[in-house]
């Protein structure tokens, strides 16, 4: 494979790709974990959802 670029220092585009990629997965994980750990709120929501969504396929 021919490698043209000699200086590999992070370019603005490289910074952007790195920050967006790392930021996306980190925020997704933190948000998901926070939702998992917010038990009080989630129990309430779950109760609401269960009332709304009885599974018609469960018999």
């Amino acid at each position: 494979m021919i490698v043209l670029q000699v200086d590999y220092s992070l370019t603005p585009a490289g910074w952007t790709f790195m920050v967006v990629s790392l930021g996306f997965v980190t925020i997704l994980l933190v948000w998901s974990l926070a939702r998992v750990l917010r038990k009080g709120h989630s129990d309430k929501l779950r109760h609401q959802l269960d009332e709304e969504l009885t599974d018609p396929f469960d018999s």
Binding site: Y8, L10, S21, L29, S32, R35, V36, R46, D55, F57
Partner: protein, 540 residues
Amino acid sequence: MSQDSPLAKREHWGTRFGVILAVMGSAVGLGNFLRFPGLAARYDGGAFMIPYFIALLLLGLPLAWAEWALGRYGGRRGYNSSPGIYRIILKTRYAPYFGALAVLIPVGIYMYYVVIEAWCLGYACNIAIGALGPNQNIGEFFANFTGLKQDGLGFSGDGGWVSFFVLLCFALNFVIIYRGITSGIEWFCKWAMPALVLCALIVLVRVLTLGTPDPSHPELNVLGGLGFMWNPRTTGAGFWDSLANGKMWLEAASQIFFTLSVGFGIIVNYASYVRSDDDIALSALTSAAGNEFCEVALAGLIVIPAAFMFLGADGVLNTVTPPDGGTFALGFVTLPHVFSSMPLGQFIGAVFFFLLFIAALTSSLSMLQPAIALLEEGLGLTRKASVALLGFVTVVGAGFVLYFSKGLTAMDTFDFWVGTFSIYIVATFQIILFGWVFGIQRARAELDRGAEIRLPRLILYITKYIAPVYLIVVFIFFVYQEAMAKGTGNRFWALVHDPTVRLSVGFLALVLLLFCFITAASVRRWRRMEVAQPDDGGAI
């Protein structure tokens, strides 16, 4: 409820966090820390992330949600194994046999994965005691340790204790799996996953503080390493040319597919132990997010930047580009060399390979449970008997892989036919089963049941229409690519001409036959139980 009914002896995860960590542990493996960085480096770093994240959203997450939903649905009806779960959703006599293939996949992968796990442990120990350091020929060590040049080397004294490490890994896996879902897998993953992240953070801090390790090459520094990994244009191709590379899209889709462990028959099994009103939508998302964090945020900052600082761009590209390079070359030849060259390298190298060992162990554990579930609920065996029977089958399989080590042919064949080809088949079957047989309405009801987040309806349409097409196109390209490969690189050609490949495929066919027999016996048993107790397992 009858004592014989699968419903009568159901196991559950102890905590919700436990199941999330267990699924995360199953997904985080060597692919995260070795395959992903290698692919990203090969395909222009940043540019690779575009098809990667598109595949995550259109293929990975929908498949993960589908597997979690199918698993919990089956679990609520008393089934934990893929044959049982497929059977209650698709009411044809052939459906359970797709389940047999879904049991073969994790067991077949386990047979060679446990050997690689043993390499990781062996490398960690050898680096820790200084037996694999700056003065050693690492390529030769790898060849001897893995038996690369000669069949049966792993069973001789020249194999560098690899058999001992394989036995140790086997014992660890089976002791943990014998303890059961809560006391074994969940307990282990609760400490192993934080330990894995801690090890990764230690290595990450070391790599990011290396500065310029060799002052005579000032261009080989941390920012250069990060640039090589993340700049959208590092090789000859321009950014848009890179994006037009179909092979990159194919590789990105398969990386997402394999890193999330979808189509392995594992998530279906794990999700079947979730309680009927526990959330699965958020749990699936959290597990996937944890896996992506380990892959992108940890491995993406460690492996390639470290290799770049000591080998330069050409060295890294040679290491990650087939036919001479690849995952094993990067992980077991290049990285030990890199660690041996850096300050504190002995400690960091040992920590890194211990990290790989933990990642492999949490994955290999998950590969045993689907078969245990089938043996328990299908044949009515006790856990002890199931573990013993599976232990025998997997010892024979791992012994086979360990013996036929020349050129790593047996391992490569197992990886191709079970760890890749069969996975595409099962994943395609599952996504069609979910979107078209289970149906969108029932899928929505199942995903919303007990859910703490409401998934957009769009996801279900993606699951029904886009994900299957995406998967089938990737599969067709994959088969085409393999069929067009030249000479010994062509797996179909090798199947006809290479005796070790034929023997390996024959062995796998025998194991599949065994699981088909077990499935047939299980179906007969379930039918008898349904006739006797129509309200139990037959509550379809």
